[in-house]
Symmetry: C2
Subunit: 233 residues, 2 copies
DNA sequence: GATGAAACGGAACGATCATTCCGGAAGCCA
DNA sequence: TGGCTTCCGGAATGATCGTTCCGTTTCATC
């Protein structure tokens, strides 16, 4: 179903030639358990964060730890898979939002994103720095498009850059992380306020420049580099 | 120096009567080591977060682990002490900011706060939920005063509430946590943008209400309650 | 149904830490 | 300086957790 782990789970129907690797299809129980593990991991990680033990995830799935490790080489890979799920969902949401009229796509996307952050609060920080950097890049590009649309429709002021939207998102995550257990919806009002602000307000002239795309890429690479290199838009 | 651990470190001069508990003053080497431990803990926790081991802190202080445990009952207490230090500094900054003219105190405070969050990124999340709830409360009150001043000087729109400023702060922390290693100053631009937004923008009418004081108290109590009780300003 | 391959479960292993303990060193007071 | 107290260092302890291993079970195929 998710298709990211070691042995691929090929769709039932595929031309009987194709890929040289020719991985055998998983046994029926194996697919079922894989599914169960992914679902359990999603729940557990959402609720307890990435500190939750593998045993907890396994037991929630009604499965032994060994079974989890048969499908995922280690905990990091499992978490990465779950984060990847969220990433794909968000990318899809962004794609659909691009079709919304009047440049409202960005707002719509950010609202869905907020919900998602709140729901998956436990591992939301694993989105940035996901192993598939290209997926993150795609999402970024979509957000950049949404921003452009919003600016063309005058729903966001001209001076605002992609880095600002990303920072807004990081901020939403911070809000959710701090207040999520008590006021799960606190982020909504904050998002409303910020969107209202971004529509009219001009970025103060003496502010530092926005985070560049290069820096965005660097974040999540784990690189703690202090040197910004190239100048970008 | 810090006066929060098990045996108090009384200031050198005190009236030779006073408190019944009559704690003996610490030995000279003990005070020195206490100091070293606190400094080391601050550095290490800032850099590596609260996952840093006690051994690392001890060795950074040039001291054995046992020595750390003589002054602090456990790791939590040590972290709490360090967070308390930051809390007191911020409270002092807020107090002084109250004296600034034209309602600029809040902005000033938030800027200093941002610096502090960035510098102590590793344990900034331990501010909320500090053991001394009253200290947190005091800081909140100061911030509320600063907000009031700012609103009287028309530097912040009327509809903005304390909960909004707190959420802004949680957001700043989120930004710092995500981007801090690569772009330590990313929070500045975001703060500028948000302040500009808060000055003019009105809170959208259909937004959920701001986080209440009761909820603010609840956050950090570790209570994951979903029920909001009383209605407040 | 029989048989070989794949998958399962969960006990066992090893590493990492927080925390404890105690023999020895260092301050304090007379 | 001597004696007593406090403190120090760091090895040892115990718990948690990620990961591995292997005897057993379940599936797919014939």
């Amino acid at each position: 179903m998710t298709g990211h782990a070691h042995p691929k789970t090929p769709g039932p129907g595929r031309a009987p030639d194709q890929a040289p690797p020719a991985v055998k299809p998983l046994r029926r129980d194996a697919v079922r358990n894989h599914q169960l593990v992914v679902e359990a991991a999603r729940e557990v990680l959402s609720e307890f964060g990435t500190d939750a033990s593998m045993e907890l995830i396994a037991s929630r799935a009604g499965v032994g730890v060994g079974t989890v490790y048969r499908r995922f080489p280690n905990k990091e890979a499992l978490v990465d898979e779950i984060a990847g799920l969220m990433l794909r969902e968000l990318t899809e949401v962004a794609r659909r939002s691009l079709a919304l009229p009047d440049g409202t796509g960005l707002e719509r996307f950010l609202r869905v994103l907020g919900n998602s952050l709140a729901e998956h609060r436990g591992y939301a920080d694993k989105l940035v720095g996901h192993s598939k950097a290209s997926c993150v890049e795609v999402l970024r590009d979509r957000i950049a498009e949404l921003l452009l649309q919003a600016q063309e429709s005058a729903r966001i002021a001209p001076g605002v850059e992609l880095g600002d939207i990303m920072a807004l998102i990081w901020g939403l995550r911070g809000i959710v992380e701090t207040s999520g257990a008590v006021v799960p919806d606190a982020w909504r009002r904050q998002l409303d306020i910020q969107l209202a602000g971004l529509r009219a307000a001009t970025v103060p002239a003496d502010s530092p420049p926005a985070v560049t795309r290069a820096q965005l890429r660097q974040i999540g690479t784990g690189a703690a580099g202090t040197a910004g290199t190239a100048a970008e838009s």
